[in-house]
Symmetry: C2
Subunit: 206 residues, 2 copies
DNA sequence: CCCATGATGACACTGAGTTTCATTTGAGTG
DNA sequence: CACTCAAATGAAACTCAGTGTCATCATGGG
């Protein structure tokens, strides 16, 4: 029990099992494959019951993409804290850069492993897409609130979409190179992606 | 057997069961709810076996969104047939307009019912997202091929994303009004959505 | 008419996710 | 420290989507 004592013991225990499950899942899924690993094996490894697993995660897929989940939940927190001034797209970018820079150091490896895993299991890909879709919805809600716009405003949808896509592409390229260059390399790629967005609209055939 | 005789009988039969399944599914799911309807009930209604169902559709979710699937598969066909000249975004828009205009007349009602259904079942929402994601991938592949670009080119990702988002938002609004105004109303909304895209990038806080 | 091939149905099986309920364990109180 | 309440856990039975196998049936081509 070498954990941070600032929170009640109960909560610390819950967090510990959560981490243990996510770590074991990343290991098992990477070794044996996502489909080939049963939930039973996972919970035996961590020595908890299936009930406990489903109280910590809503689905088998969820435990595999903890790193992705952490990123976006931190992002939404950042976004809500910041006040929006000037170009909204720039705001979305800066919040993302700030969030990426602030993630705990061991996040890098877990994220690389996660993205690798996603490439091997269609079910995981689908789950990530679904999860990001929820994030976009939250982003739109947050922006609509701050800007006094309707949550159906097409512009907000486009902007949320762009931010997530910029991340997705940057992350893919970064992972493809083993996360070489660390957090800074990722951040650099992210800046490049955002800069490339306006040009996209004017892409034309020769 | 009042079907189009141009194809072999075997194929016609397969198509008929497929249609029957999709129609019954839309009816049952709308009445009882997606989760509350078991696959068993569905296949009993249509009088086929579970095996047959899974040869026609890859998942329970798939049979519920046939109208969505038809749209995008027609779109990809259109896109591949057209030659790309000038602005790519305009090309994506025009192909979408052309596709929407060419869908069989009974598509409207089925699509409205489908989108309604999706709003009631999280599993369906996730499945639609996943499906569209596959469509975007195909769009990107098609464009990369025609333009001689890399399939990882960020601009292609952005453009595919924008086209799908424009559709999604237009469709949502159209469905919200019961598909009033028919195909023409949908097409008008779609044009508006595409026109609103460039402005999005310059959205700023007051 | 016959044969090869592809579609179907029946059935058994796996594994994810839910539900229920009894048991344990941490938190607050006197 | 003892007691109590609430929350967390575990055990086990259950539902249902999805897979795999194999025997049977229908179709299309010769």
């Amino acid at each position: 029990m070498t954990d941070d004592r600032s929170r009640p013991l109960r909560e610390r225990k819950k967090l510990r099992t959560r981490r243990a499950l996510a770590d074991a899942a990343l290991r098992l899924f990477t070794d044996k494959g996502f489909d080939a690993t049963t939930l039973e094996e996972l919970v035996e490894e961590v020595e908890v019951s299936k009930s406990t697993f489903f109280r910590a995660f809503p689905a088998k897929e969820a435990v595999a993409i903890e790193a992705e989940t952490q990123l976006w939940s931190a992002y939404l927190t950042t976004l809500e804290r910041r006040e929006v001034t000037g170009l909204v797209l720039a705001e979305l970018r800066d919040a993302l850069l700030e969030t990426a820079a602030a993630l705990e150091p061991d996040w890098d490896d877990r994220y690389v492993a996660t993205r690798r895993l996603v490439l091997t299991a269609p079910a995981l890909l689908a789950y990530v897409e679904h999860h990001r879709s929820g994030v976009k919805k939250d982003m739109i809600g947050c922006l609509a609130d701050k800007l006094g716009l309707d949550i159906d405003d097409l512009r907000l949808h486009v902007l949320a979409e762009l931010a997530v896509t910029a991340w997705s592409v940057s992350g893919r390229d970064w992972v493809r190179e083993d996360g070489r260059g660390g957090r800074q390399a990722l951040i650099r790629r992210l800046k490049d992606s955002f800069e490339a967005i306006p040009a996209s609209l004017h892409l034309a055939a020769p």
